[in-house]
């Protein structure tokens, strides 16, 4: 097992109370949405299916795979469930898993559960799902494309959940961003590789034995585009949090300033949002937020446009809905 401090289950005491409450509010909204969406998707199969799959994720986390030198990795599962059954199902499943881990085994705190479930449930599910679908739209429906999409989705789900954890710790002033962010992102870049390998292998196995399950997941994916909105919301939330997290410049810039070579860095010939600030807004935090917002919207718009372009040739959309 990985040492517990590298895991993402935040115990109580590490999130400040305002941050923990924000987590609760975000999670509550998303749970209500997820309950409605999965109800539509699965009808009254919803309760047994979600419940048993939550137990599955819990049990699957017991299956270890030896990495090297006595350490071993295991699946986290958010991306796998999101790819197989859709992101809303994954949100519910992962929230149940984390709730039981907190209530039954004290894996993660009770007040911290809002953000714990948000990181490993919501963020992991939506980023994993969004990356998987985007890659499949870009690369097509081949087997290689599917496995590449799965790998990227699984890796991103772990990495972004870890980055979100680091941001929350920094916002709570429990761990300086300049330490927490590179540590969490670095370690989970490796853990994410394990997640990607296991998820790819699991999906390949399911594709061989029950291809109908995966075909079903593609159909449900085409139906709902609400996940785009939610993915956007998550990105925006992280954007809002980032400038408030740490008044100090980020790690690289800090090193650069300390060594006095920041001035030597060349400015690019053109500059739309210089240094991520909007020129006519004076307050630096607000300006950074606005700049991040514009950037996020532009990136989201471009991705959406690309996805639409790739999707356009399919004419059977009107018949399916």
């Amino acid at each position: 097992m990985f040492p517990p401090f590298l895991a993402m289950h935040i115990p109580d005491g590490f999130l400040s109370i305002p941050v923990a409450l924000v987590g609760w509010v975000l999670l509550t909204i998303l749970i209500v949405l997820a309950l409605r969406q999965t109800r539509e998707q699965f009808k009254d199969r919803q309760i047994p299916l979600m419940g048993i799959l939550a137990a599955f994720v819990f049990a699957a986390q017991m299956i270890n795979f030896p990495v090297a030198g006595g350490t071993s990795g295991h699946l986290l599962g958010g991306a796998l469930v999101a790819i197989l059954l859709g992101p809303w199902a994954a949100v519910l499943v992962m929230t149940s898993v984390l709730g039981v881990q907190a209530l039954l085994f004290q894996d993660g705190g009770l007040l911290a559960i809002g953000f714990n479930a948000f990181n490993m449930g919501v963020i992991a599910a939506f980023t994993g799902y969004a990356a998987y679908n985007l890659i499949r739209r870009l690369l097509g429906q081949g087997r290689g494309a599917q496995l590449a999409a799965t790998a990227l989705g699984a890796w991103l789900s772990v990495e972004l959940a870890a980055i979100a954890t680091a941001l929350e710790l920094a916002l709570s002033n429990t761990s300086p961003l300049s330490v927490a962010l590179p540590t969490m992102a670095g370690v989970h870049a490796l853990i994410g590789i394990g997640e990607a390998l296991i998820t790819v292998a699991a999906l390949a196995f399911i594709q061989q034995t029950r291809p109908d399950l995966i075909a079903g997941s593609v159909k449900t994916a085409a139906r709902g585009s609400g996940w785009i909105a939610v993915g956007l919301l998550i990105a925006l939330a992280v954007t809002f949090a980032s400038p408030l997290a740490d008044p100090n410049p980020d790690g690289l810039e800090r090193v650069a300033e300390d060594h006095g070579f920041l001035s030597a860095a060349q400015e690019p010939p053109f500059n739309v949002l210089p240094d991520y600030t909007v020129p006519f807004i004076q307050d630096s935090a607000a300006s950074t937020i606005v700049a991040g917002l514009i950037g996020t919207l532009v990136v989201a718009g471009v991705s959406y446009g690309v996805a639409r372009l790739v999707e356009a040739p399919k004419a059977d959309k009107s018949t399916s809905s």
Binding site: I63, N64, L103, G109, A202
Partner: protein, 267 residues
């Protein structure tokens, strides 16, 4: 050595605490954790007092003060995440280690985080030691958590041990086919091979779980399931249990009021 054994914390017993209404126990535990987290920075006399409150609860529920204290250490490895605060918090320098300076404010902040997390973990552990999980779920449901979410979690709990044992069987099967000689080098194949085996097991477990959910759903339909689950009648609400549950909360509130009064000037 067996990492697989899935064991609940709950221990049956007879005590004032075991018999307390689960709704009140949940509210009380969340209130206690909130109260513990509100301890002002540097208010060190407050920590032993709060521990005394938790300790007396441990005595009343026959868990044992030291045992609860030891179990509360579960979150301590995570404090490493906060350890760098002792270097980065501005304050009076206490000690220099090469280029790093340990500040007094940093040590105070780190100690506070570690102690608060240790005490909060004890409050949470006491709840799960004395309350069966089904009672907890019922309490959460009557405290207005979305009932579908609670039912999903109830289902999860119902199949947790079944699927846990399914996973154990898979792991046992892998172990029995993975024998290697003690001096054999490179046994077990490449990293990708090992990951593929684990992934195949996860996929296989998924299919078994998915198919089980289909069987369970069919069985539920055969018994007239219409989308609603029905539970047992709730125990009557008693004001006496509210009083019992309020005692530790009042004690912690009192400690915190004193701490705020004393340490307002210090900060």
């Amino acid at each position: 050595m067996n990492p697989l054994s899935l064991k609940e914390r709950f221990e049956g017993g007879q005590s004032l605490f075991h018999d307390l209404d689960p709704r009140i126990k949940v509210v009380m535990s969340l209130g206690l954790i909130l109260g513990i987290l509100l301890t002002p920075e540097g208010a060190f006399p407050a920590y032993p007092l709060i521990w005394a409150v938790l300790g007396s609860m441990a005595v009343v529920s026959r868990v044992g003060v030291w045992r609860l204290a030891r179990l509360g250490g579960i979150a301590l490895p995570f404090t490493l995440a906060a350890l760098t605060l002792i270097f980065t918090t501005p304050g009076q320098p206490l000690l220099r280690l090469g280029g790093l300076v340990i500040s007094d404010a940093g040590v105070v902040r780190f100690m506070g985080i570690a102690l608060r997390s240790w005490l909060a973990a004890q409050a949470a552990i006491l709840l799960s030691l004395t309350t069966p999980f089904t009672d907890l779920l019922w309490a959460l449901r009557s405290l207005r958590l979305p009932s579908t979410l609670v039912m999903i979690t109830a289902f999860m709990y119902r199949y947790l041990f079944t699927l846990g044992e399914e996973a154990e069987r898979l792991i046992r099967a892998r172990a029995s086919r993975s024998a290697s000689l003690p001096d054999q080098k490179g046994a077990g194949g490449s990293l990708w091979w090992r990951a593929r085996v684990a992934g195949g097991m996860v996929g296989s477990l998924f299919l078994r779980s998915y198919e089980r959910s289909e069987r369970v759903y069919a069985a539920m339909l055969s018994r007239g399931f219409d989308g609603e689950l029905r539970g047992y009648n709730p125990p009557p609400f008693q004001w006496r249990s509210v009083l019992v549950g309020a005692i530790p909360l009042l004690a912690v509130a009192l400690i915190q009021i004193m701490a705020f009064l004393w340490f307002r000037g210090v900060r």
